[in-house]
């Protein structure tokens, strides 16, 4: 049997339909496939925020849903609430809120969050009940499967799966390597 250690690529390119923050023409695009109930994603959240802070407009960050529903009972609804928030123009504040409230993500807590975030709560409740955003979440999940997502979180830097750990220094180094030398100055200034 042959042995492989090949590069794994993002097969569904970043598009207008994605939740994206940062300039479209940034030299580096970081894609995360994540699960709002996953403790590892919870730990990665402040790291990604710091990476975003240091890179500023040199980075475009994209989040795609990859809920592991069989082991995280609230992950699907949490993802659907983020999508419901996106429909009301508030994806990113909701995304951040979810990672900060991993300790309680049952439906009641999610709707309280929606209230706190100033969303139309009745609409969120209705859309959850109707599974309005389920297809979108599944679409993200399937795009991840096709791209070789092998757990959560899985990161792609400029379309290549990042197989090393996602500690701050490792991520920054991988991003630098992907972007080339132009990034060094930006990083130095913000350390």
């Amino acid at each position: 049997m042959s042995r492989h250690a090949q590069v794994t690529r993002l097969t569904v390119p970043v598009s207008d339909g994605d939740h994206s923050i940062g300039p479209i023409d940034a030299p580096v695009t970081l894609v995360e496939y994540g699960d709002y109930q996953c403790p590892y994603c919870g730990r990665a959240f402040p790291i990604v925020q710091e990476v975003r802070r240091r890179l500023g407009d040199q980075l475009r960050f994209v989040f795609r849903n990859f809920p592991l529903t069989q082991i995280h009972e609230h992950a699907e609804h949490a993802a659907e609430v983020a999508e419901a928030a996106a429909a009301q123009g508030k994806f990113w504040p909701t995304h951040d809120w979810l990672f900060r409230h991993q300790f309680a993500l049952d439906d009641e807590a999610l709707l309280e969050g929606a209230q706190e975030l100033g969303l139309d709560v009745e609409r969120v409740r209705r859309e959850l009940a109707d599974s309005t955003h389920r297809a979108r979440v599944r679409e993200d999940f399937l795009s991840g499967i096709k791209s070789g997502v092998n757990g959560t979180p899985t990161f792609y830097i400029n379309g290549i799966r990042h197989d090393a750990d996602y500690g701050l220094e490792t991520l920054i180094a991988a991003i630098e390597a992907a972007a080339g030398s132009g990034l060094q100055d930006t990083l130095k200034r913000r350390e």
């Binding site: 794994t8 097969t11 699960d35 994603c41 592991l68 399937l142 499967i145 997502v149 757990g151």
Partner: protein, 157 residues
């Protein structure tokens, strides 16, 4: 001599999570996915079996049967399967240890475990795709889905 792509898969019969015996020869008529993995109980969010559990409906669209195989015992497998809510059987390649893994050429003598290896077998029992991942990298499900897709295309052309 280990099994090769394009050859008939070596038959085996192993005890599954629920105590029943699963024989490869009895699964003719459906594609079979064998997922050899080193051990039960790897960290949950990056666990290969937990991932395949999520992708199971996609495998089933191709009529494929998923089987996890490691050298762990049936009782270890059943505790693990229950904890992760696994919807497919785990087979215990436990006694004689690693015999099936050896037949497929994916036993690691030094570690006493199997490689992280994937095998896709067609409905006639022929190996159509196999892959050994670096031991610490969960190979994901993309390769399996591509292999199943190729089986379908082969059948219709």
């Amino acid at each position: 001599m280990a099994a090769k792509q394009g050859e008939r898969a070596p038959d085996f019969e192993l005890t599954a999570t629920d105590g029943t015996r699963v024989a490869l020869r009895d699964l003719r008529g459906s594609p079979v996915i064998l997922a050899f993995y080193p051990a039960d109980w790897s960290p949950v969010c990056s666990d290969q079996m937990a991932l395949y559990n999520e992708v199971l409906p996609e495998f089933q669209r191709y009529g494929a049967r998923m089987l996890g195989i490691s050298v762990d015992s049936r009782w270890c497998h059943s505790a693990f399967a229950e904890n992760r809510h696994l919807g497919f059987p785990l087979l215990a390649d436990f006694e004689p240890k690693g015999e099936v893994a050896k037949a497929f050429g994916v036993y690691r003598e030094a570690d006493g475990t199997t490689e992280r290896a994937l095998v896709v077998i067609d409905a006639e029992g022929v190996i159509r795709w196999q892959y050994i991942s670096p031991i610490d990298v969960n190979p994901g499900a993309d390769g399996i889905l591509e292999a199943l897709e190729a089986l379908t295309e082969g059948a219709t052309t």
